[in-house]
C-alpha cells in the first residue's frame, strides 16, 4: 500500500463573492496518476492554482507529505516539490528554451544534477534539443507545451500537476504528450492531470475525479469512470 502524498479536505475558494470551489476532498498517493475532469468553469483550474499556492483558499486543509500547506506561499511550495504546468503553458516567451529549462531548476543548486536532468529532458523531447537556443515565444503551440512540461520536470517535483496539456494541440502532438505523461508516471512521480479530453485522461490515469460547478460529484478507478453512463453522457459526448 502506497502512502498518501497530497490530501485535500473541504477546500473552498472564492473570487470576490463568488464561490468557484465549494468544499472538495481529494487525495493522491505517491506515484499515482489521478485525472480530474469536468466541464468548463467547473473549478478545475481554480483547484490546481490553489494547490500550487497561487490562490488563497477561503477554507479547507491541504496536507502535503504530512505537512500543512496553509501559510506556505507559492515559491516555497515549488521548493517542496509541487509543480504546476499552467493552463496556457506560461513559458517565458523572451527567454530561450534552455533558459526556460534552467528556470525550472531555479530551486536547485546541484550543478551536476541539473546537467544530468537537462540531458534527460533533451532525450525525452528531442525537439527541444534542436531548438534550445530559440526564444520560447516563437515556438509553435505543441513545442511550447513540451517546454512547459520539461521545465516543470527540471525541478524534480514529487507532485506534478498538469492543466489541460492537450489544449490547442494537433492530434499527433496530443498522442506524443500523453506518451510522455505515461512515461514520467512510470518513473514514479505523482501526477494530477486536468483534461478536457476525458477519454484520453481516464485511459492513462489510475483514478479519477469528476468535478461539476465547484463540487466533486464522482470519483473512483479510472476504468470505472470510463464505463459510467453519467460520465459518458456529460464528457464523452456519447
Amino acid at each position: 500500500m502506497t502512502d498518501t502524498l497530497l490530501e485535500v479536505c473541504g477546500l473552498e475558494i472564492s473570487y470576490g463573492g463568488i464561490r468557484a470551489v465549494k468544499g472538495i476532498d481529494l487525495h493522491i498517493a505517491s506515484g499515482e496518476l489521478v485525472a480530474l475532469i469536468g466541464s468548463n468553469g467547473a473549478g478545475k483550474t481554480t483547484t490546481l492554482k490553489a494547490l500550487a499556492g497561487l490562490l488563497h483558499p477561503a477554507r479547507g486543509k491541504i496536507q502535503y507529505a504530512n505537512r500543512s500547506l496553509i501559510n506556505v506561499v507559492a515559491h516555497q511550495r515549488a521548493a517542496m516539490g509541487i509543480a504546476l504546468v499552467p493552463e496556457g503553458r506560461g513559458v517565458f516567451a523572451r527567454m530561450t528554451v534552455l533558459e526556460n529549462l534552467l528556470m525550472g531548476a531555479y530551486i536547485r543548486d546541484d550543478k551536476s544534477g541539473i546537467a544530468i536532468d537537462l540531458a534527460r529532458m533533451y532525450e525525452l523531447f528531442p525537439r527541444l534539443a534542436e531548438r534550445k537556443d530559440q526564444l520560447a515565444g516563437t515556438l509553435s503551440g505543441g513545442e511550447q507545451q513540451m517546454v512547459a512540461m520539461a521545465r516543470a520536470l527540471m525541478g524534480r517535483p514529487r507532485l506534478l500537476m498538469l492543466d489541460e496539456p492537450s489544449m490547442g494541440l494537433a492530434p499527433l502532438m496530443v498522442q506524443k504528450i500523453f506518451e510522455v505523461i505515461r512515461d514520467i508516471a512510470a518513473l514514479g512521480m505523482s501526477i494530477l492531470l486536468v483534461e478536457q479530453n476525458a477519454k484520453l485522461a481516464l485511459q492513462v490515469a489510475q483514478r479519477g475525479y469528476v468535478m461539476e460547478s465547484g463540487e466533486i460529484t464522482l470519483s473512483g478507478a479510472a476504468t470505472e469512470l470510463l464505463g459510467s453512463a453519467a460520465v459518458q453522457r456529460a464528457y464523452l459526448g456519447a
Binding site: 472564492s14 470576490g16 463573492g17 492554482k49 499556492g53 497561487l54 490562490l55 488563497h56 506561499v73
Partner: protein
Amino acid sequence: MKFNSKSKALVAALVVALLLLPFITDALFGRGWVRIVDFAMLYIMLALGLNIVVGYAGLLDLGYIAFFAVGAYCYALAGSPHLALAFPMMFPDGVHLSFLIVLPLAALLAGGFGVLLGAPTLRLRGDYLAIVTLGFGEIIRIFLNNLNSPVNLTNGPQGISRIDPVSVANVRLSATQNVLGIEFPSVHLYFYLFLAFTALVIFASRRLERSRIGRAWMAIREDEIAASAMGINTRNLKLLAFAMGAMFGGASGALFAGFQGFVSPESFSLMESIMVLCMVVLGGMGNISGVILGGVLLAILPEVLRHIVVPLQQSLFGKTLIDPESLRMLLFGTALIVMMLYRPAGLLPSRVRRRELDSDEVPESIGRNQA
C-alpha cells in the same frame, strides 16, 4: 436621462446648492476661496477633457496642458492690445474679439492641435505614447516661450497681460454687478460662467460615453486589435478622442485667460499636465463623478493644507517647528500616496474598474495578467 421624483428633488437641491456656493464660500472662508473654487472648476473641465483621452480611449497623455495653453493664448491674442506690437498696421489697438466668437475659435484651434499631436502617435502604445505627448506639451510651451522674435507673437516668457475680461451681453465679469439688489462680485460671476461650462462639458461627456463612439473608444482601450477586427477605424477614433479632449482643454484655456487677465508659458508646465492626470486617475478614471471629485480635491487640497499646517503645528508643538511651506507639499504628496493605496481604482471608480478590482482583491499572489 429620466428622473424619478426623488432624484428630481435631489438634483434640484444640488442645483440650488451650487448656485449658492460662491456666496456661502465667501461668507464662510472669504473671497480668496471663491477664486480657488473658480480655479477648481477650470480644473474639472480640464480633467473631464483629459478623461476622454485617458479614461475612455485609454491613451496616456502627459502633455494635455498644451491644449489648455493653445486655448489660453488664442483668447489672449484675440482679446488684448498685444498684437498691436507685432502688426501695428493691421491692428493698431490689438484685437478685441467678442468672447462668444473667441471661445469656439479657441476650442477648434485646440482641437486641430489635438489631431496634429494624434497623427504621429497612432502606432504608439502606453508609455511610449506618454513620453511623446509629454514632448509635444513641452514643444508647445517652448514655442510660446520663444515666439517673441522675429515677430512678437506671444511676448515670450514675459507673457501677455491686459487681456480683456470676459464680457457676455455687455456684462463685464471683471466688475461687481448688481442684479436685483444682490451684489455679484467678479469672482462670483466667473463662478457662474464656469459652472455653466462645466455643466456643458459634463453633459457632453455623459452623452459621448454612452454612445456608439464611446463604446468604440472603450473597445480600443480594452484591445485595439480586437476592436479593429470588429470594424472600428481605430485611427479615426483615436484622433477623434484627441480632438474632443483637446477642444475641452482649449475652451477651458480661453476661460482661464479671460479670468486671469494674464497668460505666460509658466502656467503650462509639465507639472500642470501631471496634476490634471492625477485628478483623473485619483478621482476614478472613466467615471465622470470620480473625475470631478478628483479635480475638486487636488485643486483645493493644497490650499486647505496652506491653512491648516501652521495652526496644526502650533496646537501640536506650541510653535511652528517645521517650515510650513515644505510641510504643506509634503502632506500633499503623502495624500496622493495614501489615497491611491486606499483606493487603487480611484476614489469613485467607474463601474468597470470597480468590478475589475473586486476580482483582483482575493488572489494576492497572482501575477500580472497580461493579455
